[in-house]
Symmetry: C2
Subunit: 388 residues, 2 copies
DNA sequence: AATCACTATGTAACCGGTTACAACTGACGC
DNA sequence: GCGTCAGTTGTAACCGGTTACATAGTGATT
C-alpha cells in the first residue's frame, strides 16, 4: 500500500486537503464520448495510469478526494459508517465534480434497483389514478421510483407486464386484486421479490392485502337503502370477469340482501364496463323489468353517472321514483344536477399504504394485510322508497 | 482454444448436438441464494472451474449450448448475424434454462436501458391519459418501457423528476410544453439524451415538437362562434402560469377575435385550474359582468362542464341565451343533458407519434416536429347569438 | 496456389458501482 | 507490556452482460 502504480505520490500523502482539479483534467473530462457508442474508443494499451480519470465516476471521485472507492461508496450509502472528516471531504468532491452514480452499475452490483413496479388495470380511472399519485409520492419519500404498467383487465397482459417489470428489475411489485392464473402464481413464487395485492382486503390471505373490503362497503350501502324502505333492487354491476373486486361488490350486495330476505331478480342484474354510455344503456334495460326496482346499485362511478343521466333523460324522478347509488367518489358525483350517493374509498391511502408496505417487505420487516377505510356518502340520489 | 480450463472435453467436440444438463448441474442450479444478499457466500478459492455454472446467466447458457458468450449475446441482440443452426440451438437452451437477461448488466455494458422517461403535469387528465396509454403501447411495440413521472404543473418538480429519470437511466425523454427554466434547459443540453416537447407545435423549434397547434384550434373555435353571430365573448381560461399550452389557447382566442375587431373585456377573462367546482365558480363571476357575454370559451373540459352545469343551476338557457364551448373531448362532454361543443385533439396520436419520434432520435434518425390534428366538434351547447 | 474479401465465431477487456475481508489504529483491561 | 475489541479504511473480486478485435473458414479472383 502507499503508492499507486502510476508512480505518483500515494493518496495518503495528499489526504490532508482537498485537491483541486488541474485545468488539464477538466479538459479531458469535457471530452465527451458520443452517446450510443458506449465503448472507449482509444484506450488501447495505456488504460492503467491516468486515463481512467477521464469520465467522472466513483473511482475519479475517490482519487480526487484521496480516499478509496469503498469509502466513497460508503459515504453515499451508509454515511454513518464513515468519519465526519472524510464524509464532508468526499461530499464536497462529489458536489464539485457533479458526480451522479450510475444506477445500472449500482443495480448490478447490489442486486437492487430502487424501483417498484405496479400493474393497474387502467391508469386514469378515479380510484386508481388517486392511488397512483399517492403511491408515487410515498415511494419518492423513501427514495424509490414507480414503474407503471397497465393490464387493461386482461390477465395475460397482466402476466406479461409483470414479466417485463421483473426483467427490467424491480425490487417489489404492487398488483391489483388477488385472483390470478396458476402460471402467474408460480411465476410470482419463483422470482423471489416481494409483492402485494391492492384494492382488496382479506385478513386470511398469505400475501399481504391493502385495500377496502369491497363486500362490506356494499353491505353498508344495502343497509342504507333498506333502511329507507327499499325492497325491490336492481344492480348495474361492473363486469366481474377478471375482476374480483367487482365480483366482491356484487356478492356483497347479494349477501346483504339475503340477510334481510331479499334478492335481485335475474332481469334486475346487468353487467357493464365503466363508461357513461354503458350506464345509460343498462339502466334502460333495467327500466323495462317488471316490477320495476325502486333502488339501483351501480358498480362504479361512471355507470352511476350514466344511470342518473339516463333517468333524467327518460323522465324518471330520482330519488322520487327511484334511488340510484354508485361506487367510488369522483368529483363529478357531487356536481351533477342530482348529486349521487356513493361509496367513498380512501384510494390515496391504498396507494400510500401499498407503497410503504412493499418497501417494508423489501427491507425484511414483517407486514400484514391492511384494511383501508371506506364510507358511504349520502347525497340526493337516494331517498325513501316511493309510497306506490 | 479448444479445451476449457476445467479439463473437460472442448465445447467444440460436443457442438453437434444439444447437451442436456446432467442431474448434478440441475441440483446446483436449484441451490438458491437468498435474495437481498447478492454476494456469493462461499466462492472462496474455487471460483474458476465449474462453480460459475451455478446461476443461470449468459455464461451458463453459452456453456450448455457449446458456444461463446458473444454468440449468445448476438443471438439475443442481432440474430441475423448468427448462423441459422447456432441460433436455433442457442434459443433452445435459453428456453430450456428459462434464462432472462439481466437488464442492469445489459444497461451497464451497452450504455442503453431500453426505457423512455415521460413527465406529465398530471396522469389522469383526459388528454394526457389517452396519450400515455398510446405512448406505452407504441413503446412496447418497439421493445421499450415507459417510465412515468408527474410534475403537477410545478417547474421545479418537473426538473427534479427529470433528474431522477436521467439518473435512473432513460434513453430518451418526453416532456410536455416548450417553456422551461434556464437551469433545466442547460441540464437538458448537458446530458446527451434526446428529448422532445409534446402537446405543443412549433415548426421553428430546434427541439422536435409533437402536438396540436393550440392557438389554431382555438382560432377555429372563435371563427365558429363568430359565424354564429357572437360578438361579446368571455373566457374561462386554464391557468396560464407554468402552462404554455393554456397560454397559447388564450392567445389564440385573443388573436382570432382581434382579427375581426373584437376583444374580451378584462372582467370577461378569468383563469382557473381544472375541476368542475372551479368552472362553476368562474362562470358565476362572468355572469355578473355587464354587458353579459353571449359566448363563453373554456380552457379545458372540466371548466366547461362546470360552466354548463352552473348555467343550468342558474337558469341560464344554453345555448338560447348563451353559448358555452370547451377544449378536449372526454366522454362526459357528449353525455351531459346539454352536450358540449369542444375541440377534439387526437391525444392518442400525440402519444404514439411522440414515442416513435423519440425512438427515432435515439436511433440517430433525423426527425422533425409533427403537428397533430385537432378539430372542433359542434354540439348543442353552441348556437346562434340570441336576438336580444 | 496465393491473395483478397467477407462472414461466422471466440476471447477477454471492459461498463461503474458494492462489499467481503483484511489491515490498521487506538483504547482498555489485566 | 500485551492481547482483545471496536471502529475505520483500503484492496480487489465480483455483479452479468456487450463488443472491439483477433481468428478461422470459405469462395472468388488473379
Amino acid at each position: 500500500m502507499g503508492s499507486d502504480r502510476s508512480g505518483r505520490t500515494s493518496w495518503r500523502s495528499r489526504a490532508d486537503g482537498l485537491v483541486i482539479l488541474p485545468a488539464a483534467d477538466y479538459a479531458s473530462a469535457g471530452r465527451q464520448e458520443r452517446s450510443g457508442m458506449g465503448r472507449q474508443g482509444s484506450r488501447s494499451r495505456e488504460q492503467g495510469a491516468t486515463a481512467d480519470k477521464a469520465r467522472v465516476g466513483l473511482r475519479r471521485v475517490a482519487a480526487v478526494a484521496g480516499v478509496s472507492t469503498a469509502t466513497v461508496s460508503r459515504v453515499v450509502n451508509r454515511p454513518e459508517s464513515v468519519s465526519e472528516e472524510l464524509r464532508t471531504r468526499v461530499n464536497l468532491v462529489i458536489e464539485q465534480l457533479g458526480w451522479v452514480p450510475n444506477a445500472a452499475a449500482r443495480a448490478l452490483s447490489s442486486n437492487r434497483t430502487g424501483a417498484i413496479g405496479a400493474i393497474f388495470p387502467a391508469l386514469a380511472l378515479g380510484d386508481f389514478a388517486r392511488a397512483i399519485d399517492a403511491m408515487q409520492d410515498a415511494l419518492a419519500a423513501r427514495n424509490h421510483l414507480l414503474l407503471l404498467a397497465r393490464s387493461q383487465y386482461d390477465p395475460d397482459l397482466e402476466f406479461s407486464q409483470a414479466r417485463k417489470l421483473v426483467e427490467r428489475g424491480v425490487d417489489g411489485l404492487v398488483l391489483v386484486g388477488s385472483t390470478r392464473s396458476a402460471a402467474f402464481e408460480s411465476f410470482l413464487s419463483r422470482i423471489e421479490i416481494p409483492y402485494l395485492n391492492s384494492f382488496v382486503f382479506d385478513a386470511e390471505s398469505p400475501v399481504p392485502c391493502v385495500g377496502p373490503d369491497n363486500a362490506v362497503s356494499m353491505s353498508e350501502m344495502v343497509d342504507h337503502l333498506v333502511s329507507l324502505g327499499h325492497r325491490r333492487f336492481g344492480m348495474i354491476a361492473q363486469t366481474t370477469r377478471n375482476n374480483d373486486r367487482a365480483a366482491a361488490r356484487r356478492d356483497g350486495v347479494r349477501n346483504a340482501l339475503a340477510r334481510v330476505g331479499l334478492a335481485i331478480p335475474p332481469q334486475g342484474l346487468v353487467e357493464g364496463e365503466w363508461d357513461i354510455a354503458e350506464g345509460r344503456k343498462l339502466f334502460r334495460r333495467i327500466l323495462d323489468a317488471t316490477p320495476r326496482p325502486t333502488a339501483i346499485i351501480c358498480g362504479n362511478s361512471m355507470l352511476a353517472v350514466g344511470a342518473v343521466l339516463e333517468a333524467a333523460a327518460a323522465g324518471v324522478d330520482v330519488p322520487g321514483e327511484m334511488s340510484i347509488v354508485g361506487y367510488d367518489d369522483i368529483e363529478l358525483m357531487s356536481e351533477l344536477p342530482i348529486p349521487i350517493t356513493t361509496v367513498r374509498v380512501a384510494s390515496d391511502d391504498v396507494g400510500r399504504v401499498a407503497a410503504d408496505t412493499v418497501l417494508d417487505m423489501i427491507e425484511g420487516r414483517a407486514v400484514g394485510s391492511q384494511r383501508i377505510r371506506s364510507q358511504i356518502v349520502v347525497r340526493a340520489s337516494s331517498g325513501p322508497v316511493p309510497s306506490d
